[in-house]
């Protein structure tokens, strides 16, 4: 509660919270209601301009753009949540290996991460798409893998600082396990970095969904997503710019909101930077 209030107090925090809440709300609403049925096409009104019946116009099949974007928000939300969870879990596992007291494991993990980080996400997605075909799994695994490696690399200095600190040493001296100190000391003291990095990953996942879906290895055709809406209309950008504008605008705004969200959350959730969290409570 205190965290949310502190976030709300900042202008960019308001922006991020409003955009992300709207996203969540639209995704929920689209489960039950969209202005037009997704599969309702109208051959007489393709590429229609915005009107009372089609607020954002129609696409090349005469389907309602707004309905598809609303339903797409659900797919994108799912992809972002899964990617962040995957990247977070994978990244933390790598961080744990890198700060391990077993120096051989720590040294080896740094080398392995440096090697793996050179694999481009797109290449990995292409390889995954061979057995899996175009699917959400391809996006989540390819992005989660790449972002997890990045996360580990970026979080390593902060995690090492905590791992070598006297408070961890004193816990270890008292008989704490390495796991105890990792969960209770090292992760919380790395959290500011993790939050920012994960929010960047979330934003990049939205972009990656568009890119991979455009390449035909992301969201399968027929499944609504922002990337799908972009991919089906981008060829006609010279003729019907509006249909490209809407999904592009949404992706841009959401990505900015996600990045800002991470920054603001880091400041609001860290007792070192938010004095309100340090107030004595019962």
């Amino acid at each position: 509660m205190i965290v949310l209030r502190s976030m709300w107090r900042r202008g960019e925090g308001k922006f991020a919270l409003v955009v992300l809440s709207l996203w969540l709300l639209v995704a929920l609403v689209s489960l039950f209601w969209t202005p037009q049925p997704l599969l309702a096409t109208d051959g007489y009104h393709v590429w229609a301009k915005p009107s009372a019946a089609h607020w954002l116009g129609t696409d090349g099949t005469g389907a309602d753009v707004l309905s598809w974007l609303m339903a797409g928000s659900r797919t994108n939300l799912l992809i972002v949540i899964l990617t962040v969870l995957f990247a977070g879990a994978f990244g933390l596992l790598l961080v744990a290996a890198m700060v391990a007291r077993n120096t051989a494991l720590a040294g080896a993990s740094v080398v392995v991460i440096d090697a793996l980080i050179s694999i481009p996400t797109v290449l990995l997605a292409l390889i995954l798409a061979v057995p899996l075909g175009a699917s959400i799994t391809v996006i989540v695994v390819a992005c989660g893998f790449g972002y997890g490696l990045n996360l580990a690399r970026v979080a390593r200095p902060a995690a090492l600082l905590a791992a070598r600190s006297s408070y961890v040493e004193s816990a270890l001296a008292a008989g704490a396990s390495g796991w105890w100190t990792f969960v209770r000391h090292i992760v919380p003291n790395t959290l500011p970095v993790l939050l920012v990095q994960l929010s960047l990953s979330a934003g990049t996942a939205v972009l990656a969904e568009s890119g991979l879906t455009y390449l035909g290895i992301g969201v399968p055709s027929g499944v609504p997503s922002w990337g799908h809406s972009l991919a089906t209309s981008v060829k006609f950008i010279n003729v019907y710019p509006l249909t490209v504008l809407w999904p592009g605008l949404i992706v841009t705004i959401v990505v900015v909101a996600l990045n800002v969200f991470g920054d603001v959350l880091r400041d609001a959730a860290d007792p070192l930077s938010n004095p309100e969290l340090r107030e004595i409570r019962d």
């Binding site: 600190s165 006297s166 408070y167 040493e169 004193s170 816990a171 001296a173 008292a174 008989g175 704490a176 105890w180 000391h185 919380p188 003291n189 860290d270 007792p271 070192l272 340090r278 004595i280 409570r281």
Partner: protein, 252 residues
């Protein structure tokens, strides 16, 4: 000068300790054939210049580091569970994102799974009171909102909360401003008053502090024991030239 009931069997003794750091060309021996005893209830000060091996010796005593050769004998159970640590810099020895109460309770939460929440809270409050901090005021604070002296006393409270038989304090006052040092000294004095069997090993280069609190002094010089004896003897009638030098430079 504190008095103590020194018994004859040492609580902790190290014999013929050798220790080197680094590899091959960088190899540097920091301890040469060092032997020392710590008795229950006493305060042993380990003094010497920078790089004399003071910290390394005490770390080996408590099993935080291993010696290359020599023996460490502890007349108790698991020394890690029966010792408390106080570091030089109180702010880096307390987790900046933990409240004071949680930090002080940590050794109990690690070692004493049998204690209830209330029992732990009671012991934490008692430990804070022993070092002169009011639990009502300090339990909920974060280290960032403490002064150096307060933070170091919190660290001391954490070191005593599990009622250790030996406390190792590595230069506990050198990062504290002079005005607050007396609070740290008072905290140690209070511990020695309330827990007469607890041994205190204090690494220091501040002879004023040592004179005030130590029963015995071990002087290390370049990794060798220069001399060891009761405080009054070592400071009043030093046998080695190096000790005389230390005392002379301290009284400048």
């Amino acid at each position: 000068m504190p008095t103590t009931s020194m018994s004859h069997a040492p609580l902790l003794s190290v014999r013929n300790i050798d220790k080197s750091f680094g590899r091959r060309a960088d190899r540097r021996q920091v301890l040469f054939d060092v032997s020392a005893d710590v008795y229950p209830g006493e305060c042993l000060a380990v003094i010497g210049g920078s790089g004399s091996g003071k910290s390394t010796l005490t770390r080996i005593m408590l099993g935080l580091d291993t010696a290359d050769s020599g023996t460490v004998t502890y007349a108790g159970g698991d020394i890690r569970r029966e010792s408390g640590l106080v570091f030089q810099d109180p702010f880096s020895s307390l987790d900046p994102r933990w409240r004071v109460g949680r930090s002080v309770a940590e050794p109990l939460r690690i070692q004493r799974r049998d204690l209830s929440r209330d029992e732990i809270a009671a012991r934490v409050a008692a430990a804070l009171r022993t070092v002169g901090l009011d639990p009502a005021v300090f339990l909920g604070r974060y280290p960032i909102d403490l002064s150096g002296g307060q933070a170091q006393r919190v660290a001391i409270a954490r070191a005593i909360v599990n009622e250790p038989r030996v406390i190792l304090a590595d230069e506990p006052m050198s990062a504290i401003d002079v005005a607050a040092r007396i609070q740290i000294l008072d905290a140690f004095a209070a511990i020695r008053e309330t827990r007469r069997e607890t041994a205190l090993v204090m690494v220091s280069h501040d002879l004023g502090v040592v004179q005030h609190i130590a029963d015995r002094i071990l002087v290390l010089h370049d990794g060798r024991v220069e001399e060891c004896g009761p405080t009054y003897a070592v400071l009043g009638d030093p046998q080695s030239a190096y000790t005389r030098e230390l005392i002379a430079s301290a009284s400048l």
